[in-house]
């Protein structure tokens, strides 16, 4: 009987959580289109979410592009197909690895920071204080982060794409014996607009997921420092899982067989 009870409890908990998240998302999205718009807060968040994520996203993209070139060369070598390196690096980075790596890195950086900040505001009653000062906390706290993340992520991914391909180029020319001009020409000739735009669409969705998970977990944190810690962990874990799941869904939508 205990087994049934716990299955029931888990099921109810799952639906309750899903419902709460849906209502929260609805509130947040409708807050984007209704005034007031806090332009200054959006600018501030663009700085925090976008600009300050550049170093970590750039570095990971560089090394990912590099290691991709190395592996494709080694793998392609078995079939004498090592000349395919520039094309596959470009395809892999723009379609999948650029958005996913950037998404996961930003999830770690930003979702955690958002959840910790909003969670602390929750447990110290600052969110209630906003309400008593005639300010809607969703519009004041959630909307700017959501808007900034959805704008920042495609820009970050565009940069990550370039740096990732550059990483492949550096490894290709420095240690795999490619001619620099040919490497670049092969990349440019092969890559299509859809390869890049599909990645940028994914990036915008990932940005939404990151900000939403950070805000939602922060808003619902309970019980002091421990609660904020748990909210931060949940924000990163749920954002990462949702990014990977959404990535699969988006790939199958954007590239139908």
């Amino acid at each position: 009987m205990n087994v049934l009870a716990s299955i029931g409890r888990a099921t109810l908990g799952f639906f309750r959580e899903t419902g709460k998240l849906s209502l929260f998302t609805g509130d947040a999205v409708s807050g984007v289109v209704r005034p007031p718009v806090y332009g200054w807060l959006i600018a501030q968040q663009l700085m925090r979410i976008g600009y300050y994520s550049l170093p970590v996203v750039g570095l990971t993209a560089f090394f990912t592009g590099g290691v991709l070139a190395l592996q494709i060369y080694i793998g392609g070598n078995r079939y004498g197909a090592e000349s395919i390196v520039p094309q596959i690096v470009a395809l892999g980075i723009t379609r999948e690895l650029g958005p996913v790596i950037a998404g996961l890195m930003v999830a770690g950086r930003v979702a955690a920071a958002i959840a910790a900040e909003i969670g602390t505001m929750r447990v110290t009653e600052q969110i209630d204080a906003l309400t008593t000062l005639s300010t809607n906390p969703i519009k004041y706290l959630v909307v700017p982060r959501l808007v900034a993340a959805v704008i920042s992520m495609p820009i970050l991914v565009a940069i990550a794409d370039s740096i990732g391909i550059f990483g492949g180029y550096v490894v290709g020319t420095a240690s795999l014996g490619f001619n620099g001009g040919i490497y670049l020409k092969n990349t440019v000739d092969f890559i299509t607009q859809q390869d890049v735009t599909s990645g940028l669409i994914k990036a915008a969705v990932f940005g939404f997921i990151i900000a939403l998970m950070g805000c939602y977990n922060g808003f619902n944190s309970r019980g002091g420092a421990q609660g904020v810690g748990a909210a931060t962990t949940n924000a990163v874990v749920s954002a990462s899982i949702l990014i990977l799941a959404a990535n699969y869904a988006l790939t199958s939508l954007l590239f139908p067989r």
């Binding site: 600052q126 209630d128 204080a129 309400t131 000062l133 005639s134 300010t135």
Partner: protein, 256 residues
């Protein structure tokens, strides 16, 4: 038509299986200072949050100036919220903003006052609570607990509210600072002629800042009357609470 400033009629609120407010009735006349006393976990904070609209009661009515306020949304709710000021237990200052912007927050965001003008008002309100203009540029983290409470009070009175809520105004302060804050509350309230609703378990503070006291136990008001009557009541709940006895009709719920 109700003549009360704030009135609660049979307000019920529960979280899951836990009943917090179980038909709470309470009324405050205009210009009165009511303190609600009661042990930890008796629903005092939940009651205030219901009046403020941060929580929505499951049943019952809450009237402000005779107007039903439960379930109000949008601009109607904003209009009611503008009548309120609130001093939170931990002051709840926004740590990302300097002190003056904390005080001016409601004026800038809620009333659309230009920043320059709001800043002047903020400095004037800070002076009212005994803080100089040099404090205005500090960040809340640089202030002591007592100073944070003062800034919180300045923020609560910044927009000239009609009703001020005090949530445990003396909790976490040393006895002297607590007395200073109590004095400040009394003089500010007298100055502004506002109605106040406070919650506390500190009896010294309760006697000092109230003219009426009500006692909340298990989600119901078990006693209400003028502060001067509290020592003469035969009510066993009140008697046990104000004398701080472990034995009596009040059973502390130790489990959460």
């Amino acid at each position: 038509m109700s003549t009360f400033k704030v009135e609660l009629r049979g307000v019920k609120k529960r979280f899951g299986d836990k009943v917090v407010l179980d038909g709470t009735d309470l009324a405050i006349e205009p210009g009165h200072s009511l303190v609600v006393i009661g042990g930890s976990g008796t629903g005092k904070s939940v009651m205030i949050k219901c009046v403020l609209g941060i929580l929505t009661p499951d049943e019952g009515q809450i009237l402000v100036d005779g107007q039903e306020v439960t379930g109000l949304r949008g601009s109607a709710r904003d209009a009611v919220l503008r009548k309120f000021g609130m001093l939170f237990q931990g002051a709840a200052l926004f740590d990302s903003l300097p002190v003056w912007e904390n005080v001016a927050f409601g004026l800038i965001q809620g009333h659309g006052m230009p920043r320059k003008q709001a800043r002047e008002v903020a400095i004037e309100k800070l002076a009212k609570v005994g803080l100089g203009s040099d404090v205005a540029m500090l960040s809340p983290a640089e202030l002591s607990g007592g100073m944070q409470k003062r800034v919180g009070l300045a923020r609560a009175i910044a927009a000239d509210p009609e009703i001020i809520f005090f949530d445990e105004p003396t909790t976490g302060l040393d006895p002297i600072m607590a007395d200073i804050i109590n004095d400040l509350i009394v003089s500010t309230v007298k100055d502004l002629g506002v109605t106040t609703l406070s919650i506390t378990h500190d009896m010294v503070s309760a006697r000092k800042i109230s003219d009426h006291i009500a006692m909340l136990y298990r989600g119901k008001i078990v006693w209400a009357g003028p502060t001067s009557d509290i020592d003469r009541t035969a009510n066993a709940f009140v008697d046990q609470f104000i004398h701080g006895r472990a034995e009596g009709p009040i059973k502390m719920e130790v489990r959460a």
